[in-house]
C-alpha cells in the first residue's frame, strides 16, 4: 500500500522525524490561506500515487499567498499520467545545503532490513547505485537485535557527518528505522532529505506498507482500496473490492488459476499457443465455491473475454468446490461463453463429475487445454 507524501509525512511527524511545516489542501483558496498563516515562501506539490511529478510540472513555488493561489489553481487543473490532481501539499521552502538520500527497505536475499543512505540525494537511488556505487552506505540490520544507536552513528559517520550533525543524522536514521519496523513498511524513503544549516528535514516522503501487515494498522486497512488509485486499473480496483487477485492484460482469453505459479504458467502456455490472455486471476489457496463463482463471474462479465480457461490443481483448493463455483456462476450469468476447465488433485473425481453433469468438458493436459482455449477465443492457434 503506497501512501501519498502528505499521508507519509503525518506518520513521519508521529515518529518525531523532522519535516518542513506543511499542509494538504484541495482548493486554491485554502492554499492561499495556509501561506498567509505560514508567512513564508512555499513549495506546492501535487499529491498523486505516481512518480515523476517534478518533470510533469506538478511542483511550483510561491512567495506570497496570491502566488500560491495562482499556482494551486494551475496545479489543480492538471492531469498527470491519466490522474486528475485533487490534492496539493503546501510546504515551507527550506534552505537546503545538501540533498541526501535515506531509505529503509527489505533485502529479500539477505532476509534483513537494509538502511540505504547516500550523500547524492535528489536522484533515483538506482541511478546513484549504477553511477557512483561507492556513494551509497548500505547497512544490513540484524533482525534479532534491530538497529541500535551505534549502528545509526556508524551510518551517519560513514556519510561524513561529525559532531552535532552526526548525532542529528543518526537520530534521523533511528527514527526512520523505527517507523519502518513499527509501520511494517516494505519501503520508506526520503529523497531528498534536506541538510539545512542546523540539522535535517524530510523534504519528500515515501512510505509503502506491507499489505499483509494491515491487521496491525487498522486505520490504513480501511483506506487500502483508495490507495490503489493510479497503481491499478479500474477493473483491477473492482476486483480488489471483491477481494480477488486480478491483473488486467490486453488479450481476449480469461485466465483463472489457483496459485501464482500455475496461473502464470497458464498465461505463458496460452502465449506459446499464440493466444493472448485478457487477465490473470489467481484464486489463491483454499477457495470456497462462492469465491470461485465470484471469480468466474468477474471474468466472464468482461466483454473482452471470449473464452475462459480455468486451470486448477487441487491442494488446499478443492476440485469439487471449483466445479460447483463454475456451474453456479454460469447459471447465474446465463452467458454461454466457452469455458475450458483443467483440474487435477484434491477431490478431482468429484469435481469432474459435477462438470460432466453440467456439460462442461474437462481436459487433463494443460497444454491441450491452453490450445483449446485459444481456439475457442478465435485466436490463431
Amino acid at each position: 500500500m503506497k501512501l501519498l507524501e502528505y499521508e507519509a509525512k503525518e506518520y513521519f511527524k508521529q515518529f518525531g522525524i523532522p519535516t518542513p511545516m506543511g499542509n494538504m489542501v484541495t482548493t486554491p483558496e485554502d492554499a492561499a490561506k495556509y501561506v498567509e498563516s505560514l508567512g513564508k515562501p512555499v513549495v506546492i506539490k501535487v499529491q498523486l500515487p505516481v512518480g515523476g511529478r517534478g518533470k510533469a510540472g506538478g511542483v511550483k513555488f510561491a512567495d506570497t499567498s496570491e502566488e500560491a493561489k495562482e499556482a494551486a489553481k494551475q496545479l489543480l487543473g492538471m492531469t498527470i499520467k491519466d490522474l486528475k490532481v485533487e490534492k496539493l501539499y503546501v510546504e515551507e521552502k527550506v534552505g537546503i545545503v545538501n540533498e541526501i538520500y535515506l531509505g529503509v527497505t527489505i533485502d529479500r536475499n539477505r532476509k534483513q532490513h537494509v538502511v540505504l543512505a547516500s550523500s547524492e540525494g535528489g536522484m533515483e537511488i538506482e541511478e546513484v547505485a549504477a553511477k557512483t556505487p561507492e556513494k551509497i552506505v548500505r547497512f544490513y540490520v540484524d533482525p534479532l537485535t534491530g538497529l541500535r544507536s551505534y549502528h545509526a552513528n556508524y551510518i551517519a559517520s560513514k556519510l561524513g557527518y561529525r559532531g552535532g550533525m552526526m548525532r542529528k543524522f543518526s537520530s534521523f536514521v533511528t527514527k526512520l528505522y523505527t517507523l519502518a519496523v513499527e509501520m511494517d513498511a516494505e519501503l520508506t524513503e526520503i529523497n531528498p532529505l534536506a541538510e539545512v544549516a542546523d540539522g535535517f528535514l524530510a523534504a519528500d516522503a515515501r512510505l509503502n506498507i506491507d499489505n499483509n501487515a494491515l491487521f496491525r494498522h487498522k486505520e490504513l486497512q480501511e483506506r487500502l482500496l483508495d490507495s490503489y488509485q493510479g497503481e491499478l486499473t479500474e477493473r483491477e480496483m473492482e476486483a480488489r473490492a471483491e477481494d480477488l487477485t486480478y491483473v488486467e492484460l490486453d488479450g481476449d482469453i480469461g485466465i483463472i488459476g489457483n496459485g501464482a505459479g500455475l496461473t502464470m504458467a497458464t498465461l505463458d502456455s496460452v502465449m506459446i499457443h499464440g493466444g493472448k490472455a485478457a487477465n490473470f486471476l489467481d484464486l489463491g489457496g483454499g477457495a470456497t465455491p462462492e469465491r470461485i463463482g465470484k471469480a468466474v463471474k468477474f471474468v466472464l462479465r468482461d466483454e473482452r473475454t471470449k473464452s475462459l480457461f480455468v486451470n486448477v490443481l487441487g491442494g488446499i483448493t478443492r476440485c469439487d468446490y471449483t466445479a460447483e463455483g463454475i456451474v453456479a456462476a454460469r447459471e447465474e450469468l446465463g452467458l454461454r461463453k466457452p469455458i475450458v476447465v483443467r483440474m487435477m488433485g484434491t477431490k478431482e473425481e468429484e469435481g469432474k463429475a459435477i462438470l460432466k453433469k453440467n456439460d462442461i468438458d474437462t481436459l487433463d493436459s494443460m497444454e491441450e487445454a491452453a490450445e483449446k482455449a485459444v481456439k475457442l477465443a478465435g485466436g490463431d492457434a
Binding site: L144, D210, N212, G259, A260, T263, M264, S269, F280, M366
Partner: protein, 289 residues
Amino acid sequence: MTKFINKDTRVVVQGITGSQGMFHTRLMKEYGTKIVAGVTPGRGGQESEGVPVYDTIHEAQDNHDIDTSIIFVPAPFSLDAALEAIEADLDPVVVITEGIPVADSIKLVASAKAKGITIVGPNTPGVIKAGESKMGIMPAQVFKKGNVGIISRSGTLFYEIASQITRVGLGQSTCVGLGGDPVVGLDYIDMLKWFQDDPETEAVALIGEIGGDAEERAAKYIKEGGFSKPVAAFIAGRAAVPGKRMGHAGAIIQGSTGTADSKINALRKAGVAVGELPGKVAEELLRLL
C-alpha cells in the same frame, strides 16, 4: 542441515482445529504421515481428526516425542507459532500460512537460523517424501516414489510438474516448496546442497518464477560446480507485465530485476535444461536420467 522427513518423522500440527488444519491433517494421515499431536491454544484436551490436541507444544512434548512441526495458524499468530516450534527444537518447521507480514518472516527465519533450524515457507505447499510422508497441502496422487527432487517457489505449479514427472514414468524423492513470499526460510542453493548429499535423489527439477534473483543465484551456484546432478527447470511468468504483482507477494518484476528471461538465460548458461512449458520439464528429466 535438517533431515527433512521420512516415514518415521513424528509431526505436530499447529492450528490443527482450524478448517485447513483439520482437512490437511486428515489427508496427511491418509498419506502415512505420523501425526502424533496437534496444538491449538484454548483447545487443549480435545481431539481433532483422532489426534490429541494440546494448548502448547511444551505440553505436547510432555506426552509425545516430536520431530517436526507444520503450521496452519492464521497469519497474525504465525510468528509466535513458529517461534514456539523453534524454541522446542523442532526441525524442520513447515509454515503453510499465507499472508504473513514480511517483518514477521524476517524475524522467524532469523530466529530459526540462530538455532540451525530449517524453516520451510512461509506460504509454502510444504515438503513431501514421495511414498513415505508429507508435511503439506500438496495432492498426494500426483507423487510417486522415485529419484527426482523438486524445488519450487510456486505451489500448484509444483504439483503440475510433479504430476508430469509421474506421468512420464519417473518419480520423486524429496520435494520442497520454498514458498511464494519475498522472504522465506530456504533458498534453491540450500536445497541443492541438500540434494547433492541425498543418495535417493539423482536429478532435480527447479521450478521458479519472476521476482527476486534466487534463480539467478542458483544458476551461478550450479555453474560454479556446486551441484553435480542433472537439473531441469521451468520459470513461470514469461507473459507477465513488469510492476504488477502476479499473485505472490514475491512474484513481481521490479525495474530490470526478476524477469523470466534473465532467469532462463542464467540457468541455460549453467547447463540447466529449461522447459518452455511445464510438461517439457518431465521430458527433459527423462532425457537426462
